[in-house]
């Protein structure tokens, strides 16, 4: 499969799982992002991982978030230590992260921990906004493992769609523990 086909497959699988996927070109991103942020409820607090973003990108995203009226909190208070701002992330109505790799076979986001980043902002707030570059799309988990060798992060999460349960009368309900809504912006040329 060539790149556009792989991305297309990802989009199909992720939508089946309930993710809202959108391919945007960079100039359109501010507008689209502001629109999604506008739909998020109160309080206007956004959790954003400190690291893991492409060079200079975090600042431009933060600027859009702030101009949409949100206060930004960083889950990891001290990138060299163990202190978290759990209260801050817990209060947030949206969480934003950069996701380097995503898997076409299953429609999954690969969320890896590292210095200054991890899964809290895609786990605690009811809405997750995930940003990626189209070049980060790979076929499956096997390909991902091949890429990283045995250098595993302490936590690697494959997140596919929102959190869901069918435990009461087999009625599918979203957001039981994790996010109720997952929006994935894929930056394409």
């Amino acid at each position: 499969m060539n790149r556009p086909q792989i991305v297309e497959r990802y989009i199909r699988m992720a939508r089946i799982a309930g993710t809202v996927v959108e391919c945007v070109c960079q100039p359109d991103l501010p507008l689209r992002l502001a629109e999604v942020l506008g739909q998020a409820g109160e309080p206007k607090i956004a959790a954003m991982s400190a690291t893991g973003w492409p060079e200079g990108f975090r600042q431009s995203i933060e600027a859009i978030v702030v101009s949409s009226g949100f206060e930004v909190r960083m889950p990891c208070k001290d990138p060299g230590g163990y202190t978290w701002d759990i209260g801050g992330v817990e209060a947030a109505s949206v969480g934003l992260v950069w996701c380097e790799h995503f898997l076409a076979d299953t429609g999954s986001l690969v969320l890896a921990t590292g210095q200054g980043r991890g899964g809290l902002s895609t786990l605690l707030p009811p809405i997750s906004i995930v940003l990626s570059d189209a070049t980060g799309c790979i076929e499956g988990l096997a390909d991902y493992f091949q890429q990283i060798g045995q250098r595993l992060p302490s936590r690697l999460t494959l997140a596919t769609g929102p959190s869901c349960t069918g435990d009461i009368e087999a009625t599918m309900t979203r957001g039981v523990h994790g996010p109720q809504k997952v929006v994935h912006f894929i930056l394409c040329d």
Partner: protein, 473 residues
């Protein structure tokens, strides 16, 4: 020791709960349908099953090697490995970790292995309040009940019952709908996640090569349990080993497609060691308790492949007995066909010797089992072992059907005799019938005798040509 399981009584009482039976039957139906579709839509699924069985054969032949390798790699990644030969040892390890921490509360993500060793009870005795965080498990924990289905443990309760339960236990408004009930649970459980001293989870797979734990959930409670509390304890049966990281994708595919028909679960959490400095999630301490509890001895016996079980539930969703009576009738942590075999092997024939009888030998379970475990054969073997263990020569009543069915000559002769007896059924005192037909008549009607012919003579005639009624061969 537990009182021996009484299959007939347990089934009778389970069947009297019609709401539960209907709900479990419906759930099993849905899941067996989606599993079929998921298997059919994945090219090479049958080959993948062969591969999975072979990889697990490799593991069950070298259980100790892989468990030790896993422990070494886990410790290299900063985790702590503990070996427990049996349930009591595992409980001691967990309660002493809790005592060292001065822990008072724990959150737990659904794990059958912890139920196998009754961990919740032990922690409660040690002063640690445990909250089950899978929504279904949380509901039945509040209600003080047992799971009726492996994937949907509280499926036997309807929304009105859950609303009443939450109203009484959590103080929510009465009469809430499903969506609102889920919100109530989210709020209540989130508080407990944030306050918990320990997160307890099981594992779906343990990768020996890297000391990695992998677990799947749809709700995300496994993710929260392993992300927020400062200490995580994983209880894992040593049968959960897989040799290498590159085995994980294949096993995940087999598990999720067989369990819920999904290409993947909403969340797969892959854990290698505790949180490292500056990271945004994970515990400061990661303990993994590697539980044997009879697994090593299983590995060297005739039921070795039982160790390959992924706990996917496909066998029960497709089992005619389970679909009829539901999970409660098994009165064991492990229900359905896998439980029929595993329960007597883990807890002894005295306690669960009659579970292998909860099987019609239809073979559906083996057909759908991702690991191709020969479940019907294992049921048969367990019945044989049980009968042999009874020692004394079995009475004619027990022997006769086996003998008659076991040899074509006996079978034909026996069939003739039975037909002749039955055709005079009206003249036989009804009290004699159970003696003749055995326990078969306790819950079934005897067929009307003497109408038509027996199959063998019908078939013989049919082979000769069109039969007298003009039916075409």
């Amino acid at each position: 020791m537990k009182a021996p399981h009484n299959l007939r009584k347990a089934c009778a009482s389970a069947l009297s709960d019609e709401v539960m039976c209907a709900a479990v039957g419906k759930m099993a139906n849905i899941l067996s349908f989606v599993r079929g579709a998921a298997a059919a839509s994945y090219p090479g699924f049958e080959k993948l099953r062969d591969w999975g069985r072979d990889r697990k054969m490799e593991v069950s032949a070298n259980l100790e090697f892989y468990a030790r390798r896993f422990a070494g790699r886990l410790e290299a990644a900063g985790g702590v490995a503990h070996f427990a030969r049996n349930g009591p040892e595992a409980l001691k390890i967990v309660t002493s970790i809790a005592a060292d921490l001065g822990a008072v509360s724990a959150v737990k993500s659904k794990s059958m292995t912890t139920e196998e060793i009754s961990l919740n009870e032990a922690l409660l005795d040690a002063g640690v309040a445990v909250t089950e965080t899978d929504l279904g498990e949380f509901i039945i924990q509040l209600a003080g009940e047992k799971p009726s289905h492996i994937v949907a443990p509280a499926i036997h309760k309807n929304r009105a019952q859950v609303a009443q339960l939450f109203h009484e236990a959590l103080g929510s408004e009465p009469g809430l709908g499903v969506e609102e009930l889920v919100r109530v649970a989210r709020r209540a459980l989130r508080k407990r996640f944030l306050a918990a001293d320990i997160g307890i989870t099981g594992a779906n797979f343990a990768v020996a090569q890297t000391g990695t734990i992998a677990m799947v959930t749809n709700e995300g409670n496994g993710r929260l349990t392993s992300a927020l509390p400062p200490v995580q304890i994983v209880i894992v049966g040593i049968d959960k080993m897989i040799p290498e990281l590159s085995d994980l994708p294949g096993f995940l595919t087999l598990l999720t497609r067989s369990a819920t028909g999904q290409a993947i679960s909403s969340y797969v959490t892959i854990i290698t060691g505790p949180r490292r400095q500056g990271e945004e999630e994970g515990p400061r301490q990661l303990h993994v308790v590697l539980l044997d509890n009879g697994r090593t001895s299983l590995a060297s016996g005739p039921f070795r492949q039982m160790l390959h079980c992924l706990h996917c539930g496909a066998c029960m969703n497709n089992c005619p007995v389970y679909r009829t009576v539901g999970g409660h009738a098994y009165q064991s942590v492990y229900p359905g066909p896998m439980g029929d075999v595993l329960s007597p092997l883990l807890w002894g024939m005295e306690a669960y010797g009659d579970l292998p009888d909860a099987c019609t030998l239809c073979g559906r379970c083996e057909e759908v089992c991702p690991m191709r475990i020969p479940l019907p054969d294992y049921h048969r073997k367990l019945r044989e072992i049980r009968e042999e263990a009874k020692g004394a020569p079995p009475g004619l009543k027990a022997l006769a059907p086996a003998l008659l069915a076991g040899h074509p000559l006996f079978y034909r002769a026996g069939l003739g005799i039975v037909r002749r007896i039955l055709s005079r059924g009206s003249r036989l005192p009804s009290a004699i019938l159970p003696a003749v037909a055995g326990e078969w008549t306790i819950c079934r009607e005897l067929p009307e005798p003497g109408q038509g012919r027996d199959f063998r003579s019908w078939w013989a005639d049919r082979q000769k040509g069109p039969d007298r009624n003009g039916e075409k061969s």
